[in-house]
Subunit: 339 residues, 2 copies
């Protein structure tokens, strides 16, 4: 008899839909429920929410939540866990909408941003509407620990946003970068995964810890890869201009490693260019080349792999099943993703 | 022996601190707790929240919540009701901050707006931070009905914001105006008052209904007075330029009544000026004069009085006590307020 776990692991890890196969039904219901829950008597708002939901995304956050839920509940996805997934996607979408207003972004995932089609007012209010609707989903779960966890993590995410604002062109160290990535990305994965474990009857503290650590380390690895892709990927595929973070003074892993490397050689060109906030386009292009020609990208990849390994190891506390396999494969998938 | 209720009613109703005397201790604790609950390891965020809380406001929303709580709990303010008050003020403040970003407002209550001192990014994130912190307060209450009520009402407020965006320079009727005022103002009062009754052990459905109807009608009256003051008050005291709503195409009670009156006389000057969105400053000044010289202001006052009366009558279901007296006096106070 073939062991379903090893079969699953041997599948092509780069195929996300294959990884999500054990929750494919739940993910298709998720999209329907998102539209249903966001429906309003206001036609404009309905257009907006439909636009948001249909412009997609990979639904990574609910997917991780659902996989953990099914891994811990013998392949069953309880209603409360499903609600966590909906809330999570709403909150994630709200933060994207508010971020786009803040960044004056023109496009997101290849589509025009909400505040460009409508306006800033509508975009800010639509983000708040999504937060209110997420709150309604969380309320329906009726579990104080879960609401408290979400409240705490949402607070930390906002703190991170404000901290970021004070850090433009600042030479942060690796610890500060990880802290920032936690708030920007990992913590929302944690909110879903930890809630999923909390809501599983009989789940002990070590199970909850395992879910939290998987999500945290997965989220950090995901963010590091995102920051690498901002330097290495094709702008069209990635949906953001190459090096845009650096241009905006947001220093990520590849730059932090590059700076370290050059400073060891007493080479302060990159540092000076950043300090001077790229006075010209050629200043910026030179800085970009310096990052790409350093070991920064490679070291960042290794850093992502380290976090990915911790994420995988966290799951050793879970029983083997196809959902755990998917969680493991998902880690490999995000390490190899190209956009 | 002097009856404390009638003594209270005979006091000068225009003195808000006198009306709030039975909850003065709770209101001063509220300010401390607001700062405490919003404190962050981030220095910028601490400055922001301190700035927000210290630039004040009348704390009307928590005050109504506290008065209802004490009226129903024999003069005692339970911890859960206090948390509702904190959450309410945080949500109200968040909506003001987001509104100021949207409206590009320079000042609020005579102080420079957050997004002007810092920037839009920080202001949007600070608003979201307040919403997250409000959620934490609501979570601490651990009552599903309350969280659900807040979620629903926050959703309606956002729907209202988006609806407003489609209504600039639109000739809305009085029903639409009341609906808009409900979402803009009255519903948040309802969230606090209704929660206050829900959280009172032994409060029956009629008590909950009474609290809701007081808050709703009080909120509508409050908004109508606000809309009148936008035409009649001194810009400096009121903190907004005279007629700014009309200039922005937001049609409120005085304009709706004025339009009705002129149309009956087959006079379409005001209507045409609005339809043409005030091409010149003299267009706008003429429109302003037409509103002020109509019966619009007087009819709006009467409308506010009608809602105020319903608010007062709603409380007939409450036992007489100093807190009920304050709730009644508060209605009179907002009718007479000058800014």
């Amino acid at each position: 008899m073939i062991n379903p776990v090893s079969t699953n692991i041997s599948q092509n890890k780069s195929d996300l839909s294959q990884i999500f196969e054990p929750i494919s039904l739940e993910l298709s219901v998720l999209d329907k429920k998102l539209i249903e829950n966001l429906s309003s008597s206001n036609a404009v708002l309905n257009n907006i929410t439909r636009y948001i939901i249909e412009s997609g995304g990979k639904r990574l956050r609910p997917a991780v939540t659902f996989l953990i839920a099914k891994a811990l509940n013998k392949g069953f996805l309880p209603q409360d866990h499903f609600q966590v997934g909906i809330a999570l996607e709403m909150i994630h979408t709200a933060t994207l909408i508010h971020d786009d207003v803040i960044d004056e972004a023109e496009t997101r995932r290849g589509n025009r941003t909400l505040h460009k089609i409508w306006n800033d007012k509508v975009a800010i209010a639509a983000g708040d509407y999504l937060l209110a609707k997420a709150l309604a989903r969380l309320a329906s779960i009726n579990n104080n620990l879960v609401i408290d966890l979400f409240a705490r993590i949402m607070g930390e995410i906002c703190e991170g946003e404000i901290e970021q604002d004070a850090q433009y062109y600042n030479f942060i160290n690796l610890d500060q970068y990880i802290e920032k990535s936690a708030r920007k990305t990992a913590k929302l994965f944690v909110a879903g995964a930890e809630s999923s474990a909390i809501l599983t009857s009989g789940a002990d503290n070590l199970t909850i810890k395992a879910a939290r650590e998987y999500a945290f380390n997965f989220g950090i690895a995901f963010q590091i890869v995102d920051d690498i892709l901002n330097f290495t990927s094709n702008a069209e595929e990635f949906g953001k201009p190459v090096g845009i973070d650096l241009l905006n003074g947001i220093l990520t892993a590849p730059v932090i490693f590059a700076l370290e490397e050059y400073e060891e050689k007493q080479d302060f060109v990159l540092k000076n260019l950043i300090q001077n906030k790229f006075k010209t386009e050629s200043d910026f292009n030179l800085a970009l080349d310096l990052v790409l020609n350093s070991g920064g990208i490679e070291k960042s990849k290794q850093l992502a792999i380290n976090y990915a390994e911790i994420a995988k190891n966290s799951l050793s506390y879970f029983d083997d099943n196809p959902y755990k396999s998917s969680l493991l494969n998902l880690v490999s998938f995000i390490l190899e993703r190209k956009f």
